[in-house]
Symmetry: C2
Subunit: 680 residues, 2 copies
């Protein structure tokens, strides 16, 4: 039977993926995030040539440029001919705003819009260009194939975000990311209606922003990898053009080795020898007791205020054990003199001084959980890396907050899991006033294990699911429907220049030293990287660890994972009758097993792949067990307890993290359910 089935994979996979295709106009829409209100109408707007744009008299360059970009995207997406080259008249696209948006984008700006598509044209209205830009992104996602052309279903959309703060943090400290990487990610943020790029600019491992006042910060603290102020200003302008705020973060008093390498006089005692290569919490800290420290910070932040116009500045504030504070006699004396009983109190003192500086610059302060200490003024925003309960506590105390904990991309959680994490869960006991303090959330892309080559694949498409959580009504929580839309949205992001769909192949080719990676690609789809913590624990990575292994190539939550989970779930619901899913599963197992001999050949000339040798053996055994279990279930017979015990042990051993591998099998959970079911 396996023989006959083994021809099926190539065909089956695409048949099975049909639900992920763009639906015909009469089918469901593939919008992500789902708008607040959508009303489908009869008919559709047929797209045969490009657009004739009409804007209201008060349109500005920001709006006009956004329209031009959207029109170019749709022209490309829908293969539209330009006026003059065809006989079809251009499609009217009418965009009207009431007034221009703020000169510096504010947290509380109105981002709502109305979008109406009829057979005769498109009409967008919004209070300001922010809303109009969101409408344009919706419009792009509405374009769908229809026979020999593209069209947009007639629809009436009224939309506005649930939360005003929808961000992505990229840590450019631990590994530097070139400007191009940031630009394409900002394009992607705008595409899914996110509005904050949180630029984590300083870390123990690197100081990444040029200071003209303190040039040693990058001269000694960056390995030459930093952003010039001109580049940063350009990026801010690039983001603004797309409705995205840029919130810079300068970590203090901890995570500050790079400051201290450059200016040892800032240190609390011990001074690092050089840029810190190890990851994890460091003991180095800025000295909070000297006035010169504040003069330095004031001048530095003053300079940065000329680069970053946003109303908010993030000062980090997390993970600062600052052991020197407990031993340096001068610091201890200062604490006694100021009645500061411990490190937390001293850090609160430090935060207050920095807050004064920021106030002088007309900036609001943001910090991580730890900044929330008694007496903290109520306009400081607390970003929670500890979770939604910590966030709720802050809100109850009167602090505005942003949720980040469940959105840590380096946990490598599947989209279906991060999607359901809500800044204000439905069972939240917060009052309406307290809820209003929850500004939104931020996805965090920490930099320990990402390079410019694979960072996109860690961020996307999972961040699109979180974008929906932060924008769409709380009731939008249908995981299968989210996955249905995630594929096409992922492809749309790729068209913006993102590399999340290509970096895996590139990585596999690099380690195979060959362009012929068909079976290796199949094999790789059985694996996903383990979480940051698991990898760090077994590998003790540091900043100089090469990021070119199998774990760096494979992607979190590959499409095979959800496919396997959902297919298995359907099969187990009715294993004797569900022939289609049985065959699909067997075909998948066969496809994976067939890939192994070819991958073994590659292992001979690839040290990186050779490290997967045991994993390949184990995969083969586990898949054979799975085949046996499927056959039993489909024939209505049970496996023996002894066999089951053995198979479960093999699966457990396979799915346990191991030092040499760093990747986990994407089918672990469904196969566990399968073995359970087969023994009943």
């Amino acid at each position: 039977m396996m023989k006959a089935l083994s021809v099926v994979p190539v065909l089956l996979m695409s048949v099975l993926s049909l639900p992920a295709l763009a639906a015909p106009p009469s089918g469901p829409l593939t919008l992500m995030p789902v708008p607040a209100h959508v009303q489908r109408q009869e008919g559709a707007l047929v797209l045969r040539s490009t657009f004739l744009v009409e804007t209201s008299a008060n349109a500005n360059d920001r709006l006009r440029d956004a329209i031009a970009r959207a029109v170019t995207r749709i022209d490309s997406l829908a293969d539209l001919r330009h006026a003059g080259t065809g006989v079809t008249p251009a499609t009217p696209l009418h965009v009207e705003i009431e007034h221009p948006a703020d000169a510096v984008q504010a947290v509380d700006e109105d981002e709502s819009y109305k979008l109406d598509v009829s057979a005769s044209g498109i009409r967008i209205t919004a209070p300001n260009e922010l809303g109009a830009m969101h409408a344009l992104q919706t419009l792009i996602q509405l374009v769908q194939p229809a026979g020999d052309h593209y069209e947009i279903s007639a629809v009436s959309i009224q939309d506005a975000p649930r939360f005003p703060w929808r961000g992505l943090l990229i840590d450019c400290g631990r590994h530097f990311e070139p400007i191009d990487v940031l630009k394409r990610n900002i394009d992607a943020l705008a595409a899914v209606k996110m509005n904050v790029f949180h630029w984590h600019l300083t870390e123990d491992q690197g100081f990444r922003i040029e200071s003209e006042l303190y040039p040693e910060l990058t001269a000694k603290g960056s390995d030459g990898l930093f952003y010039t102020q001109e580049q940063a200003r350009n990026l801010v302008a690039y983001a603004r053009a797309r409705g995205v705020r840029v919130v810079p973060e300068f970590e203090m008093p901890g995570h500050s080795s790079a400051w201290l390498v450059a200016y040892p006089e800032l240190a609390s005692g011990t001074v690092p020898d050089g840029i810190r290569r190890e990851f994890g919490v460091s003991n180095y800290a800025i000295d909070p007791t000297r006035d010169e420290t504040y003069t330095f910070i004031a001048r530095f932040l003053g300079e940065m205020a000329t680069v970053f116009p946003d109303e908010y500045v993030h000062i980090g504030g997390d993970e600062s054990p600052a052991t020197d504070w407990k031993t340096n006699p001068r610091i201890l004396a200062f604490m006694r003199a100021h009645n500061l009983k411990d490190n937390a109190a001293l850090q609160a003192y430090f935060n207050t001084r920095v807050l004064e500086i920021l106030k002088g610059l007309h900036k609001h302060m943001i910090g991580w959980d730890e900044v929330l200490t008694p007496g903290l003024p109520k306009d400081v925003v607390v970003q929670s890396w500890r979770g939604s309960e910590s966030l709720a506590k802050g809100a109850q105390l009167g602090y505005p907050g942003i949720l980040s904990a469940p959105y840590y991309l380096d946990h490598m959680d599947p989209a279906g899991k991060v999607y359901l994490a809500d800044p204000v869960p439905s069972d939240s006991s917060l009052t309406p006033a307290e809820r209003a303090r929850v500004l939104g959330g931020e996805v965090t892309m920490w930099g320990e294990h990402v390079s410019a080559r694979n960072i996109d694949s860690r961020i996307w498409p999972r961040t699109a699911a979180i974008a929906e959580r932060l924008w769409s009504p709380a009731e939008v929580r249908d995981v299968p429907d989210m996955y249905r839309r995630l594929g096409p949205v992922s492809v749309q992001l790729e068209a913006l220049g993102l590399t999340h769909l290509t970096s895996e192949d590139a990585g596999l080719r690099a380690m195979a030293h060959s362009t012929q990676i068909g079976p290796l690609r199949t094999f790789a789809q059985a694996f996903a990287p383990v979480s940051f913590g698991e990898r760090y624990h077994v590998q003790r990575t540091d900043q100089l660890t090469p990021l070119d292994g199998f774990v760096d190539a494979v992607v979190p939550d590959p499409p095979s994972q959800y496919w396997l989970e959902s297919t298995m779930k359907r099969f187990l619901a009715d294993p004797r009758a569900d022939v289609a899913d049985r065959d699909a599963l067997l075909a998948k197992f066969a496809e994976w097993k067939q890939s192994i001999p070819a991958v073994r050949l590659l292992m001979k000339t690839s040290p990186q792949l050779a490290a997967m040798s045991q994993r390949a053996d184990d995969l083969e055994h586990v898949l054979s067990d799975a085949e046996t279990a499927v056959h039993h279930l489909s024939q209505g017979t049970a496996v023996s307890p002894a066999w089951k015990q053995q198979a479960v042990a093999r699966l457990e051993s396979f799915t346990k993290p191991r030092p040499e591998t760093l990747v986990h099998f994407v089918g672990a959970a469904p196969l566990r359910s399968l073995l359970e079911a087969a023994s009943k």
Copy 2:
């Protein structure tokens, strides 16, 4: 029989592709271009940690930066740990140069180098850093897997280029290419030891370089798509750091609509309404009779000389019918007064005036074939788009020349063909002195049908084969060996950021609106784009034609093409005994046929793919015919004449260019041989 075979493709493909894998250290090297002299030694240098670099006292930043880049590349390629993280001592890398290279890289600079690798370390010596940089590129290509680590075979290499001018032209006029595209292509040029980036900056369809003296050139002539002088200077520095000269081209007097749109007073009579969108030769021309014209050109070229330090400036000079010159009374009077009997004479007059200007700027002039008119000074370089005979004629007349004709990438010729085109063929009748005037060659990437998304796939890897022609000894002409090395080299280019191996998938996903493109990918490998001429003829493309169709996604000379040709050749040599190749061919045909039903499903929701419907039908028929022919041959029976006639007719019909498709079947030639053989 087909049923049993159809399980084979996934496995077979990779077994068959083994020759393309990096060879073990004892096997052949995968260097491209092949060095002039290579002596293999006993043993190998084991790579277990990164390098300890020692440079001679006269090392400069250009060299040090190049070493740093190479070390980073090898660290990544060979997954090397850094000193301090392991116990293995660092590998000594000694680099010595005699003197720094010229401040402005000259055509005749010494690019030779010596590279010695032993079990104990690496030693590079060169007259200047240009040679040392080439040595570093060779070093990168020498790194090969060996069990659980990487190593470099002990080797002694003495190397120098055959031709001093080895260039790539990118036409940024017809379609603008962002700076990033140019940067990564310059990285790739350096990787295969090419040394000229010919920047085609002005065209009828766009004026792409900022002039502060004449700002209207870009304000009116570029659609806002142009390079600032700062960007251009940065690119020149970027290229210089990699041993690549930047030769700018400003087309005159023809291909100049964009100049005239901006400054109508330069025109010979008729003035274009706006930027010319149509491709092909235009009649607009700069007026060569007015002194103001030369004042303009002198000031403009003077300004450009501050941006482009290279000794050469390309003035185009091709394809200028200049119909106004035959009708404008003032121009006709000027011709009579100066005794200029026709347009060619007037253009020669124009060239002489421009040449004077360039001499004043201490620049040499280059132009296309047409500039070669009687009386042209002997230091003008003629770039031949007409072919090697035209080039030889120029050399005999005393002109230095560069060959381009056979290296037109938009002809979409396979690497195996362009590889064999030699600037000085072995049967050349040129004298040694005349041969010395052949400076080398330039690959040309004309811009009609390329976008930033697919341009890399048109340039690479084919240009690597031409790079070898221009660098390596003339005797290096083994096509199978070139293809053996082309795969691994292509993967190395990808690691530099090139997208030539990923753009096809991205294009297919965009038109499938799905991430699941397995069968479509297989199907696409059966096709390659037709030549520029064929496509232009049927589609009448212009600058605004969308470049998002199936033809824009598929790549010229896909690996399947050479694989099919070489496999078929082996099979036909002994069809009854060669079971392995028979099975491989049948597996390939089966794989392609199997992909078709899934592709048909995608066609329902993709207008771009729906255009391939007839092509898919035909492919199926032609492959079935091929299967029949293979079976007959392997059993020693002949097909009937009637059947053969029908099959040939089907193949002919399939391989004839058709308006709706724009792609050709990569198996046309081998299948023709197959049908011939089967009927004997």
